[in-house]
C-alpha cells in the first residue's frame, strides 16, 4: 500500500495505491487521523489505483468519516471501479458517501 497526499483548495487529496487489507488498514487509518490532527477537515479519497480492499479498509474509512463529521468535516470519494467499486456497492457504502466519477469533478466540491 502506498499513500500520497496533496493539498488542493480547502481540502486534501489522498490517493491510495495497492492493497488495503487487515494488515495495512491500521497504517491507512493512522495516516488519515494524522491529517485530521494537522487540521484537515475536507478529504477527497482517490481509489483509482487501489487494487483490493477488505472490510478492515472499509472500517478505517467509516471510523475516519465519523470522526470528521463530529468536527464538521467530510469525506468524498473518487476512482471507484472494478472489484473495489463492487465491494463499496455490496457494502452499501455508495449510499453513505458522495462518489464522483473523476477527481476533477470531485474537486468542485472542496
Amino acid at each position: 500500500m502506498e499513500i500520497q497526499t496533496r493539498k488542493e483548495r480547502n481540502g486534501v487529496i489522498v490517493s491510495i495505491k495497492g492493497r488495503v487489507d487487515a494488515v495495512t488498514a491500521p497504517e491507512f487509518e493512522k495516516n488519515l487521523s494524522d491529517l485530521i490532527s494537522k487540521g484537515e477537515r475536507t478529504f477527497l479519497l482517490n481509489f483509482g489505483e487501489l487494487e483490493y480492499i477488505s472490510s478492515a479498509g472499509l472500517r478505517a474509512i467509516l471510523a475516519t468519516a465519523k470522526k470528521l463529521k463530529e468536527q464538521n468535516g467530510k469525506i468524498i470519494l473518487t476512482g471507484l471501479k472494478g472489484s473495489v467499486g463492487e465491494v463499496f456497492k455490496i457494502s452499501g457504502f455508495d449510499s453513505i458517501f458522495k462518489i464522483f466519477d473523476s477527481e476533477e469533478n470531485a474537486l468542485k466540491e472542496i
Binding site: 487489507d21 483490493y52 477488505s54 472490510s55 472499509l58 472489484s83 455490496i90 452499501g92 453513505i96
Partner: protein, 138 residues
C-alpha cells in the same frame, strides 16, 4: 476429489499473507479468472481475520486451510479449534443505515456470503469447519 493444498499455521495476522498466497496460487493453477481470484481472496481474508480476532480469546491456536477441487468447484475448508462460531446463522447487517448508525461489525461476514457461491458450516469434534465453495464460472 482432488486435494490441492493443506496449510496449518498459528491463527495470527502475520500469517494472513501466506494463507492468501497459497490459496491464490491454487486458484490460479486451476484456471480461475482474475475476478474470481479477487473474490476468493476477500472471502478468505474475512474468514481468517474473524478467526484471528475471536476464535481464541485466551490462547494462541491454529488454523488449517485446505483447498480441494470437486466437480469444477473450488472448496476452501477453514478449520479452527476455537470457540464455536457459525457465521451462517448471523443476520445480514443493515446496509441502509446512515453514517452515524452504521456499524462495521458483520460486514466482513456479509462480504464472504456475497463473494462465494455457497458457505457451509459444521461443528465437529470441538472444531469449527467452514467450507467456502466457489464455482469457476458464474
Amino acid at each position: 476429489m482432488k486435494v490441492l493444498l493443506s496449510l496449518h499455521l498459528p491463527a495470527r495476522l502475520e500469517n494472513l499473507g501466506r494463507f492468501k498466497e497459497s490459496v491464490v496460487d491454487c486458484a490460479k493453477a486451476e484456471g480461475f479468472d482474475q475476478k474470481r481470484i479477487q473474490e476468493i481472496e476477500l472471502a478468505l481474508e474475512e474468514s481468517l481475520v474473524n478467526i484471528f480476532n475471536y476464535a481464541y480469546p485466551d490462547e494462541v491456536g491454529d488454523v488449517e486451510v485446505n483447498c480441494k477441487l470437486e466437480a469444477g468447484r473450488l472448496i476452501i475448508e477453514i478449520i479452527d479449534s476455537g470457540i464455536p462460531f457459525d457465521m451462517t446463522s448471523l443476520p445480514d447487517p443493515n446496509l441502509t443505515a446512515d453514517m452515524e448508525e452504521r456499524k462495521i461489525g458483520g460486514l466482513g461476514i456479509f462480504l464472504i456470503k456475497k463473494m462465494v457461491d455457497e458457505v457451509k458450516y459444521r461443528r465437529e469434534k470441538d472444531q469449527n469447519i467452514l467450507n467456502l465453495i466457489i464455482k469457476k464460472d458464474r
